[in-house]
């Protein structure tokens, strides 16, 4: 990786990719393999974007945002030869354990099957539910790896793509189609209440429906977000819930090596100040240090808001389009807590093998809804829901010998809280999370030797994602598929000729999936890039 050149240089590339996150790197590699000269410019000192591993306390390393890999298609991993480029897994097929208030636990193996011993009723209901949602998810999963059709065009490809969706829906059969249409706009709370009895099971299943969204389980559309997660996992085609050795940063490091092998040039410490425009066409970028780099095309993996409103500038865009971009709901709701521990945590009722998996604190639907309630009034959850991993169980090298790292995704933490994210409010939120942890793992507080809280505001500052949103915008019916990120910028092209998007703002959205980057590159090549 080169350091920035202080003066203007005359360099010209076929394509400049802004941002070396997983989508930017996948896009760059795909373009370079098709023979294009590609430069990736990255603001941070390391590649990886939000999929990085970094130190948070001396000697302790952690995946700073996402901490599990469960949505990247196996075909993409193979195609990009990531194993050859150093990607190894410390563990795959991780189990999920739902932690109860009273020390009760419920383990969901890969595929989510609850043990019959826990609730005979739910164990009996499970297979039909799981099979049905699987069929619905497979309806969606074919949509992920292709550009979404545009609405209101005369284009045959758009009409054909829409017809295909309709046909797949019809092919579900009358009963399934009816059921799909009944539940797709519904809330996860009602769906799970209809199906199951055990609060621990319902709480855990609902957690996946609201993870990364500004929704509680009672919000309409949460069944869709649940199906979407299932679709991405089934599209991934491998055993989901995997832990790369060395954290998520190992994935993007492998992606970067794959990119370089394909001929991509990567420049880090190279924040883009401006996308340059001449003759109503994007012509390259200007870096923060003043370096101008020219290219035939610019593709941004940065979120749509930042790309259009800051990097390009609204003067190059129409008001109606800017209005839609400005209205993208992208206020983050997820915080991250990293703990350095001087010994392995002991969660009540959780065996050592389960400790290496995913632990959920979402013991009931009502617990989750109550955790959501304060966000409506710009407060954080007093009793938050958590997705916990202890990555050092499978990958001890992330901490000093015998020591451990705990990584928790915390919901809900609004981007803007009353009074702001000050030191006292950060302290209070950290205490609330620690109290929640202490109830599940008595004594864990005494083992903490280092602590880092990342609020959405911190995530925005560290990862340049407007609003600190993990998915560059809520994945909800109004920001989904044909209207993601906004009409006029679907299919990865934008109103500005020569400027494309390839990040999580685009279909099929966030999560460490890589398909937005792949779809964008394929689309650009089809369109003659």
């Amino acid at each position: 990786m080169t350091s920035p050149t202080p003066t203007s240089i005359v360099a010209r590339y076929d394509v400049i990719v802004i941002g070396a996150g997983h989508n930017g790197l996948v896009c760059a590699t795909t373009l370079a393999r098709a023979g294009r000269s590609v430069l990736v410019v990255e603001a941070a000192a390391e590649v990886g974007g939000m999929a990085i591993t970094r130190a948070f306390a001396p000697g302790y390393r952690v995946s700073a945002c996402a901490h599990l890999l469960h949505q990247m298609p196996l075909a993409l991993v193979r195609d990009l030869s990531l194993a050859e480029h150093g990607l190894e897994f410390a563990a795959t097929g991780l189990p999920t354990t739902s932690l109860g208030a009273d020390g009760a636990t419920l383990q969901l193996a890969t595929g989510g099957t609850p043990s019959a011993a826990f609730s005979p009723n739910d164990a009996a209901a499970w297979p039909a539910y799981h099979a049905r949602l699987g069929r619905f998810a497979s309806l969606l999963h074919g949509m992920l790896a292709a550009p979404a059709p545009r609405l209101g065009t005369e284009g045959w490809s758009d009409k054909l793509a829409l017809a295909k969706v309709g046909l797949k829906l019809r092919l579900l059969g009358r009963r399934d189609m009816r059921e799909f249409l009944r539940i797709v706009g519904m809330n996860a709370y009602d769906l799970l209440e209809d199906e199951f009895k055990a609060p621990l099971l319902k709480g855990a299943l609902a957690f996946d429906a609201v993870l990364g969204t500004n929704f509680g389980p009672r919000a309409p559309g949460t069944v869709l977000s649940l199906l979407y997660r299932l679709a991405a996992e089934s599209a991934a085609g491998s055993s989901p819930l995997a832990q790369p050795r060395g954290g998520l940063g190992a994935l993007t490091a492998a992606l970067a090596r794959s990119a370089k092998a394909a001929g991509v040039t990567i420049r880090t410490n190279a924040p883009v100040a401006q996308i340059t425009v001449a003759g109503d066409r994007a012509t390259g970028v200007v870096l923060a240090n003043g370096t101008e780099i020219a290219a035939d095309r610019v593709v941004s993996s940065v979120n749509a808001k930042t790309t259009f409103l800051n990097l390009l500038g609204t003067e190059h865009l129409d008001t109606g389009f800017v209005r839609r971009v400005d209205h993208i709901r992208s206020r983050g709701i997820v915080a991250k807590l990293h703990l350095a521990l001087d010994r392995a945590p002991a969660f009540t009722g959780v065996a050592r093998d389960a400790l290496g998996g995913r632990l959920l604190v979402s013991p009931s639907l009502d617990y989750l809804e109550r955790a959501f309630n304060p966000t409506k009034y710009s407060q954080f959850s007093a009793a938050p829901a958590l997705e916990i991993t202890v990555p050092t169980i499978n990958d001890p090298a992330l901490a000093p010998a015998g020591h451990h790292v705990l990584s928790a995704i915390v919901q809900y933490a609004p981007y803007a809280i009353t009074g702001g994210w000050t030191e006292p409010s950060r302290r209070a939120f950290t205490d609330a999370i620690l109290a929640t942890l202490e109830a599940q793992a008595p004594g864990i507080g005494a083992s903490v030797v280092g602590c880092e809280l990342l609020t959405p505001l911190d995530l925005e500052q560290e990862f340049h994602s407007a609003g600190g949103h993990w998915h560059h915008g809520d994945l909800a019916l109004d920001q989904f598929y044909m209207v993601r990120p906004v009409p006029g910028a679907t299919q990865y092209a934008t109103p500005m000729a020569g400027l494309y998007l390839c990040g999580a703002s685009c279909h099929p959205g966030g999560g460490v999936m890589g398909l937005a980057g792949r779809n964008a590159a394929v689309r650009m090549l089809e369109k003659g890039a």
Binding site: D318, G320, D326
Partner: protein, 402 residues
């Protein structure tokens, strides 16, 4: 009478009175008030014809306070307006006024209006419709302040051949040096007045912009100054006649704002409205530019044109046909009048290609109500150049003393 002086609660009288209302109320012989942009305004004081002839032969006062006014300033004000409207605002000098239109993303017209450049980064935008949401959304990414100032400014149009004389007599020394579309500040006996040589009549004329508290005294002084020059108050009917002769478009008559259309193909681009001369493709990006370029390249399917209709019966709302038999419909009339000054039967009309070329002949289907008996006439109409009426005095500087 005492009852009339009791203030009426606003919810019982949703229309506002303009600062000139007290005078209009007295002069209005017909008591014919109509709503305009939330204000109660005079439709016709005496007869529309009498008022119309005053525009063309003497001078007139028209209360245009309800014209929606925005103050736009800030370090990006010029850049902001240049992205908003289709003309190049960089070319507009301080102290000048420009007639502009603005479009949505698809290049369809939202509204027309005037920009007054009061300073390097200080502008006033006058519009027919309220636009604040569009103006504020357009401000995303610009350092600019947009503020509605409609109620803060009273406005009077002084239009007609004797208007300059009257303004001089009123006390605006040097007003005769104002060129068309120029503006200047004056002091009228302690009352600041901004005067612009603008108007909606296509004649010699000025518009006066003042503080509301000075409105009545300025009205009175103007009336006194204009007594020997035939000055009279006019309503919107007479103004509408003059604007058709001048070839000016009226929102919601000749086009519907793209923000209000519901049906497909009811919105219009400036190119389709014959306002292509207002669209500057050589300046930096503006709203609708890409869509308008596409339309320009693919050709216009319809165009707003001026028509000279045979006979003397105004072709109000007439459908237009390519053939006298009326089998092939090609458009419709949006505005029509018998012009007393031109002695021509005028119309503005939307016509499909290729019938909109100058010199084309189409047929107007005119219905006449003759004491409740309807008669139908198929009359030839000819596409002609606009404006229909453009006297030299509208541009002459200084204007002749009349």
């Amino acid at each position: 009478m005492a009852a009339n002086n009791t203030p009426v609660p606003h919810y019982l009288k949703p229309l506002l009175d303009t600062p000139f209302h007290a005078r209009a109320r007295v002069l209005s012989q017909n008591d014919s008030f109509v709503p305009w942009a939330g204000y109660s305004t005079v439709d016709v004081f005496t007869t529309a014809e009498q008022e119309y002839f005053a525009i063309r032969n003497a001078a007139t006062l028209f209360d245009l306070t309800p014209m929606v006014k925005y103050r736009i300033n800030g370090s990006d004000a010029e850049r902001y307006l240049n992205r908003l409207v289709t003309r190049d605002v960089r070319k507009l000098k301080v102290g000048r006024v420009s007639y502009v239109v603005w479009c949505n993303d698809s290049g369809h017209l939202i509204d027309d209006g005037t920009i007054f450049r009061l300073g390097p980064q200080d502008f006033r935008l006058c519009t027919a419709e309220r636009q604040l949401d569009w103006l504020l959304d357009s401000a995303i990414g610009f350092d600019v302040r947009v503020e509605e100032v409609t109620e803060d400014i009273a406005a009077l149009a002084v239009q007609g051949p004797t208007s300059c004389y009257i303004l001089k007599k009123f006390g605006l020394a040097g007003v005769e040096r104002l060129k068309p579309f120029e503006l200047a500040e004056f002091d009228a006996a302690g009352r600041p007045v901004m005067v612009s040589r603008t108007g909606f009549t296509g004649d010699l004329g000025y518009e006066l912009w003042m503080r509301p508290e000075h409105a009545l005294s300025i009205w009175d002084d103007l009336m006194a100054a204009g007594r020997t020059r035939g000055l009279r108050a006019i309503g919107s009917q007479a103004l509408n006649m003059a604007r058709i002769e001048a070839g000016f478009l009226m929102p919601n008559v000749d086009f519907v704002s793209a923000e209000h259309t519901i049906r497909m193909n009811r919105d219009r681009t400036p190119l389709e409205l014959g306002l292509g001369w207002l669209v500057d493709f050589d300046k930096p990006h503006f709203n609708g530019r890409r869509a308008l370029l596409t339309q320009k390249a693919s050709g216009l399917r319809r165009l707003l044109v001026g028509l000279d209709v045979d006979g003397n019966k105004a072709a109000h709302n007439a459908l237009l046909y390519a053939d006298e038999a009326g089998n092939h419909e090609v458009g419709s009339v949006t505005s029509a009048m018998w012009s007393p000054t031109c002695k021509r039967n005028l119309a503005l009309a939307i016509l499909d290609a290729p019938h909109h070329a100058i010199g084309s002949k189409v047929w107007a289907d005119i219905y006449l109500n003759r004491e409740l008996v309807w008669e139908r006439r198929m009359v030839a109409a000819h596409v002609v150049e606009r404006p229909f009426f453009a006297p030299d005095r509208r541009r002459q500087t200084p204007p002749a003393d009349r």
